[in-house]
């Protein structure tokens, strides 16, 4: 049961290392790379707090082995790049109270980021569908949806 080489890009930086096969992508990001923005909240792949972007697609990093992300481009909430979608979303969430305790927020931001990159002008229903894999217990979702629409440049949706 040896280690496996792992070469991937995380937030634009090349990472070359080796990991045990059973290391989850979520734990690799959090424990090995110290990118603790990605959270773990359940064991059944439901809560979505672990959502990251892999080659631009949101997926649950707790349902993925780190070795399965080899050769991929991974983006986490820490992958802030000036002027890009993620930053606009972060500002909107702050401004529109799209967060309270903040634990679900990184996952929400990554799912919302993927949504806006594919669909820059979503309706409120499309936002809710895109966030269907992210649980929040604090907000009741209303202000999260408002935040995403705010970032999309429209406050009231359709």
């Amino acid at each position: 049961m040896g280690m496996h080489t792992l070469d991937l890009t995380v937030n634009g930086e090349t990472v070359s290392t080796s990991v045990p096969a059973r290391r989850l992508l979520a734990d690799f990001l959090r424990e090995d790379l110290h990118l603790t923005g990605t959270k773990r909240g359940c064991e059944t792949g439901i809560c979505g707090a672990c959502t990251v972007l892999v080659d631009g697609q949101p997926l649950k990093s707790c349902l993925s082995l780190a070795v399965m992300a080899s050769g991929c481009e991974v983006r986490t909430v820490e992958g802030l790049r000036e002027g890009e979608t993620l930053q606009r979303l972060q500002e909107s969430f702050v401004r529109c109270a799209g967060l309270q305790c903040g634990y679900c927020t990184p996952g929400m931001l990554m799912s919302a980021c993927a949504l806006l990159e594919a669909n820059p002008q979503p309706t409120a229903d499309e936002v809710r569908a895109a966030l269907g894999g992210n649980l929040c217990r604090c907000t009741g979702y209303t202000q999260i949806v408002e935040s995403v629409l705010d970032a999309a440049g429209r406050r009231d949706g359709d």
Partner: protein, 288 residues
């Protein structure tokens, strides 16, 4: 989870031989959404995981000269949902793939992985059964083709041999004018897994149904066609009374699951309700 070795064969034959050589302690892993959960819950202890990720021959969606569809086993649900040809010609399939589970799982899970894991509380089986799906199983010894109903053997059990992989799913071309309706019934709006799935594909000439394929999943241990229900429709003029009768009889033939997620009675009742609604939609009758 427990420790294991992670192997990455480049070809299907290589993957199959590995499974043969290493014996019982191996599992194939595709998207991982189901298997990683099982590993994390420490319910299985494979010595080796054989990743299919490098086997490109398992990818891709193609249309055959006869108009049939070939879907590689590693195709992700999101790819099926977004594929232009599938959306245009198999809207029921695209619609099902667009709504199953949640966005992240749709990006990560594969249609082949779903069928091989054979969890009944998922969407693809009933939908594919109603579309007449066949599967191609491959090993280093060759390939064989099965009807999907023969591949899905039982609750979490398929016809895969120890060294076999699911290679692709084949759908025959739909005849022109065929209408398909796929419905997933969730017990409440907050549920993540369907309690019943109902798929209907019908053809009509005038007000007479010429063909009907009906499949039910999730409510039963393994998704199944409903031939007796189909026989009540094919060749008959379609009226509200007929489809009500059909739905009631179809539900009555089932042996539904009974567990913490829902009783057998409720599952049976919901199959009846949903099948009636789906047939109504498929035949263009107004909902009451």
């Amino acid at each position: 989870m427990h420790e294991f070795d992670f192997l990455e064969p480049a070809t299907l034959a290589e993957a199959s031989r590995m499974a043969d050589d290493l014996g019982d302690g191996v599992r194939f892993i595709a998207g991982g959404t189901a298997l990683v959960l099982t590993l994390r819950q420490r319910m299985v202890r494979p010595s080796h995981l054989i990743s299919l990720g490098r086997i490109d021959s398992l990818r891709g969606i193609d249309v055959g000269p006869d108009g049939g569809l070939r879907i590689g086993a590693l195709t992700r649900h999101a790819e099926i949902a977004g594929h232009a040809h599938v959306r245009a010609h198999w809207p029921m399939l695209a619609g099902m793939a667009a709504r199953l589970a949640n966005p992240q799982v749709r990006n990560q899970g594969t249609i082949g992985g779903n069928l091989c894991y054979a969890d009944p509380a998922t969407d693809p089986p009933a939908c594919l059964l109603a579309l007449g799906a066949r599967v191609v199983l491959a090993s280093h010894r060759g390939t064989r083709e099965l009807a999907l109903e023969d591949f899905l053997v039982d609750y979490y059990e398929t016809a895969l041999g120890q060294d076999e992989l699911l290679q692709e799913i084949r759908l025959p071309a739909l005849p022109p004018g065929a209408r398909g309706v796929y419905a997933r019934f969730l017990r409440t709006a907050a549920e993540h897994r369907p309690l019943a799935t109902v798929a209907t594909v019908v053809q009509v000439e005038g007000d007479v149904c010429t063909r009907a394929r009906i499949a039910v999943g999730a409510a039963v241990p393994v998704a199944q066609r409903l031939p007796s229900a189909e026989a009540e429709l094919a060749g008959f003029a379609i009226t509200r009374e007929r489809i009500e009768h059909c739905a009631a009889n179809a539900a009555a033939t089932l042996s539904p699951l009974d567990d913490a997620r829902g009783s057998a009675d409720y599952r049976q009742a919901m199959v009846r309700v949903q099948l009636l609604r789906s047939l109504g939609d498929a035949f263009g009758l107004e909902r009451t």
